[in-house]
Symmetry: C2
Subunit: 338 residues, 2 copies
């Protein structure tokens, strides 16, 4: 094994020369083809190791070999939710020897379109995307790419190819029904940058629909044009309570980060949960469940989404036909805050 800095890396043919076989035999040996004799294999491995040979996948993929890269487009990494999804993806992809190539869209359809184009240029084996309002160009790029595409997180819309996720609208509705069943009647909503986060928006829609089916309405609905955070939830709840002349029974927060911030505000102000005010979140983060009073929320199966999305890609590559749409569902957690 050489340890010198050397720009030109050894090639197949150098390994072949050293091992005394042809290039193609080296290629096959190093890729684990069964049709290489044990002795030859050994000799090739020796030669490769002694030259410090590192296979050039660019050439391989260009020559028609398979790519093991999978494009992954997520809207953000600031909240643990998408890293959780990415973790699930990575686990499964890694097991199959694949690598995610990452792009962050910042919830911007234009950036998303650009990313799709750029990632497609690397001819990945597949693409996983948590859409942020895909443009027509985006859809057309994906449809014409001729590779497996999985749209993740939400299954409320029709996917270009495959979808893995849950119904955010349904989750919002279920939470509204749960809260109504608890006897709450005065509802408020506190959200983050909802213009950009379509899924939070879908939850709110579902929430509103369920209320309205029961003849109730949302008394207050505040959306702050900032990314969600614990701080924002804390600040936002303070603001919401200050500006409403009659305190709501319960506040549905756009996610658990926001809701935990709300819980902290209540703790600091001596507002008792849930007697004085009830709070509900979304995501089922570990954090919320470890609070002295566990958060009422909707648990989502984020890592699972990543795993299944990866499986869909891998299945398709193996020639099988995975489900067009997979619902991983969600679980309402009736905690102590509502």
């Amino acid at each position: 094994m050489q340890d010198e800095k050397q720009a030109r890396k050894p090639t197949l043919s150098e390994v072949a020369a050293l091992a005394g076989v042809s290039e193609i035999t080296v290629s096959r040996a190093l890729r684990g083809s069964p049709s290489v004799a044990g002795k030859t294999l050994h000799r090739v491995e020796q030669a490769a190791a002694s030259l410090g040979y590192v296979r050039n996948r660019l050439a391989g993929a260009l020559a028609g070999g398979p790519s093991n890269q999978v494009g992954v487009i997520l809207p953000s990494l600031s909240n643990i939710v998408f890293p959780d999804v990415l973790k699930g993806l990575e686990i499964r992809l890694d097991q199959a020897g694949f690598h995610p190539v990452l792009g962050i869209s910042n919830y911007d359809p234009q950036q998303e379109e650009q990313l799709i184009h750029n990632l497609l240029a690397w001819r990945p084996a597949g693409l996983v995307i948590a859409p942020s309002g895909m443009t027509d160009v985006s859809r057309s790029l994906l449809a014409g790419a001729g590779l497996p595409v999985v749209e993740i997180m939400d299954i409320d819309t029709d996917p270009v190819d495959m979808a893995v996720g849950m119904s955010h609208r349904g989750a919002g509705g279920d939470m509204a029904r749960h809260l109504m069943a608890q006897g709450y009647r005065r509802f408020a909503y506190l959200g983050h940058d909802i213009e950009r986060d379509r899924r939070a928006c879908a939850r709110l829609t579902g929430f509103r629909e369920a209320l309205s089916e029961a003849g109730l309405i949302l008394d207050a609905c505040v959306s702050l044009a900032e990314p969600s955070s614990v701080t924002l939830g804390r600040r936002g709840l303070k603001q919401l309570l200050a500006q409403s002349d009659q305190r709501p029974d319960v506040v549905y927060m756009s996610n658990d980060d926001m809701a935990v911030g709300g819980v902290f505000h209540c703790m600091a102000q001596g507002i008792r949960l849930p007697q004085d005010l009830a709070l509900a979140g979304f995501n089922g983060l570990e954090l919320g469940q470890t609070l002295p009073v566990p958060l009422t929320t909707t648990a989502t199966h984020r890592t699972r989404i990543g795993e299944i999305a990866a499986d869909c890609i891998l299945e398709r590559l193996a020639g099988r036909e995975p489900a067009r749409s997979t619902d991983v569902g969600f679980t309402l957690i009736a905690g102590g805050t509502a």
Copy 2:
């Protein structure tokens, strides 16, 4: 723009034929070369758009063009720390038109070695790695790769090429000194899977060294063989307090997740912070600072590390010579828990 599924994507020469110019002119036009006439450029762009042409970077990179992929190896995505770093990396890389190709080592030197090999096979423009006990083979692979390599998080060890991070040992020492200055004398440590997390280990070492310089010792040191989490911190503190006959003055927790769990345990048990017990964490997560009593901790500049690491790669690619080692430092936050 065609929207049919089509396995064979249009090539440069098809665009060239349609635009009535040579391939190389199309190549130049699409890459924004200044030596293409405005009129030609326009014609090429039209042709490319009408065919739905997507550049093949595999071929480009193989032919000697630049790659815009950067390998990124992180030990985990379960904690917000590494996504934060990744975010910083992504921001800067994206601005320059680069993409991270991700690998997760699970704190395992063997997996790490495998990942380095696999990522190098894609001939990335650079590599960023948060090392997990690199093997000799790993070092030799990196040294021989002939590309910019940035080792991130820690600067206590000698890097193969470049390093960006902070001294974890120093951070542990500073916290010990801070706590001693507050008058605490009975110290305990509660850690997570410390066998695997070398940086947490380095902090503990620094902490111990500082104590011992002052003639003090660590009365109790508990490490639980699980990944860090809020739950583990809560459970762990309970356990630690139960098994020590005399309650320590202060517990240094391996990170903020653990520490927040500890805070929750105290809240639930009516243990007053910091009168009955003091707690300190590490990382300066937003969460800890939003608690009713802000956590005493060491703020780290994670996103900054990612940004600088990306800059190092980009600088080197631009032919400049960035600093071999960059210390982003840390900031002790004297919160309310210690």
